[in-house]
Amino acid sequence: MSRSSYLQADTIALHSGYQPESDHGSRAVPIYQTTSYVFDDVSEASSLFNVEQGGHIYSRITNPTVAVLEQRIAALEGGSGAICTASGMSALYVTFTTLCSAGDHIVSSAQIYGSTATLLRHTLKRFGIDCTFVAINDQDAVKAAIQENTKMVFCESIGNPGLEVADLDAICVTAHDAGVPVVIDATFSTPSLNRPIEHGVNVVVHSATKWMGGHGVAVGGVIVDGGNFDWQKSSRFPELTEPYAPFHGMKFWEEFGPSALAMKMRAESMRDLGAAMSPHNAFLILQGIETLSLRMKQHVANAHELMHWLLEQENVSWVNHPDLETNETNDVAKRLFPKGAGSMVCFGVEGGRAAGAAFIDALQLGSNLANVGDSRTLVLHPGSTTHSRLSPEQMVAAGISEDMIRVSVGIESIKDIKADFANGLRSAKRAAEAS
């Protein structure tokens, strides 16, 4: 059961947001591959444009297939509503620019995905939005970083690729005491392993491209409005509490209350920025979500077995996963992730960068690519790719070392994954001996 539905999560994943439609009885969610929708008459068209009634106008803003995915993910997370976007990065961009204007400020965890760090550090700065990066579990640092113009505390549920688990309960207390909402990128955890809104988080963002889809065939993002932040009381958000000229001075908080943020994103960002998810991608991600909880169990089981196996290998210098006692946030992981803290494993190979490269190049089953959350096992050297834009100091703050290999553990037979990695480690050893 979530705050949005009285069905169990496994049932929500298969049914929420759609009941077989009356005309044809399609059991599967139909793909509404259409740009636009015929109005009954001019009066109805006018009503839709003036938000006098709900409904579809143009697929940049809403689409019936995409809406099913939005309602399903909102129900899984327990949110008041959701907005799907073209990618996880556009979901973040929409979130940041809906809540922030020029002159505003964000407090962010330093341990985040490289492109998100670049967006916060460079791109948003061009538009007058500043960011202070902090160690997110240091609540004194978070509190000290919050300014009068701070609009959110941002973090990832499990930092990429440092695998630091954000202590959501503590972060929410700090942020909410200051009248600031908490926004989280929960891509690495999915609602199958943790529901951030239950810990007080106000906005949950996912790259649905990853574990939600699982198949690696569709790029997409989603923003879930927790509906649990009083934008009026905070007094930091005139964007939501003051009149909005394009809709006859509508005040989103007064009009929509718990869904004010989602409605504002729909009305403004989807209209103006146009980062819409295609209906076909929504359909593909829906297929993935149907088996999300089954896959996550296998992802976590394989990750646990692989990390323990890696610890026993002679040329593996270190292994990191939040469920290992050596991870600094292991206690937080035990509290927030009773079913396991995801399927990302990082490790170092003796012999430095050359040995790491030899390991990756020798893999047959594991794919060397810039993605995570695929059902297949994926590997990457973050220092050369996703986080290559960071300075050495920023790399350390982000929890990245030169020898780090990031593994998104898939759901293949663990026996075959281990055999592939054993072959990779032999190659790494040879490379280390040769250098």
């Binding site: 929420s16 947001g17 759609y18 009634q53 019936p64 939005e70 309602q71 909102a74 509906g227 006859h248």
Partner: protein, 261 residues
């Protein structure tokens, strides 16, 4: 807009347009634990089609100050004071569930103030299980869950929404959990005058009812309609939360009734 009612700051939604007392007014009254947002998809249409709209939050609810009123009779008196504070002499009055009971009281006290009376998802009496009242007093979110599980029809329980991407159950839960739900439910449970008042009324009236309403069952709504000689519209596949789960259909029924007068 905000106005003072008996010295208490009171919020009333006006459908996105400035309130104009010169236009015919439609007064929307929310149900137990809810607020003006229950009417988000009806008020705006009326406000942009020749009417003035008032959808107040009762005292102690959401954006209004003050203490919650403890009886339906008090709510009826307060509605009269509210209309006076807004400068409205006559209005089309629309109530959902408990909101309709308080509208009955208003009609009983001041029939001259009503141009018409519409009830949505309602009955002459709304008995409430004492266990639910007790739960609402100590754990409002749990009571809201119990009500929403009963209040929304099968489509909404499966996450179907009239507004793309939204989850009405979560929205309702958030509002009800933060409002004095227990006080409202007790007021509902104690109110017994509805049937007698309904029978005596001589006001154009309409009831919009739901076939899968578990809180004010259809047969109770139809009995009320018969006593009031009211026009009836039934949506067979929806539940008690009609203004939210079937907003377009509810609006259509409301529009045709009010515009026919």
């Amino acid at each position: 807009m905000e106005l003072q009612v008996n010295g208490i700051r009171t919020y009333a939604a006006t459908g996105g347009k400035e309130f104009d007392v010169a236009l015919p007014t439609v007064l929307f009254i929310h149900g137990s634990g809810m607020d003006h947002r229950a009417w988000a998809l009806q008020t705006r249409w009326f406000a942009f089609h020749g009417y003035s709209v008032l959808a107040p939050d009762f005292p102690g609810h959401s954006l209004s100050d003050g203490e919650a009123l403890t009886s339906i009779e008090e709510m009826g008196v307060w509605l009269s004071d509210f209309l006076a504070a807004a400068g409205v002499e006559k209005a089309h009055v629309v109530g959902h569930s408990q909101g309709f009971l308080s509208a009955l009281e208003l009609a009983n006290n001041h029939p001259e103030k009503l141009l018409s009376l519409t009830g949505i998802g309602t009955a002459a009496a709304i008995p409430v299980n004492p266990a639910l009242i007790e739960t609402a007093e100590i754990a409002p979110a749990k009571a809201a869950d119990m009500m929403l599980q009963w209040g929304f029809g099968p489509g909404a329980q499966y996450g179907v929404s009239a507004v793309p991407g939204m989850q009405p159950i979560a929205i309702g839960r958030q509002i009800m959990s933060n409002n004095p739900l227990g006080v409202d439910l007790k007021a509902c449970a104690n109110y017994t005058a509805g049937a007698d008042i309904a029978e005596k009324l001589d006001i154009p009236s309409c009831l919009i009812l739901a076939g899968k309403d578990k809180m004010t069952p259809l047969r109770a709504g139809k009995a009320l309609a018969s006593a009031m000689n009211a026009q009836v519209t039934v949506f067979p596949e929806h539940g008690h939360m009609l203004p939210v789960e079937a907003p377009k259909q509810s609006l259509q029924a409301l529009r045709s009734f009010i515009s026919s007068l």
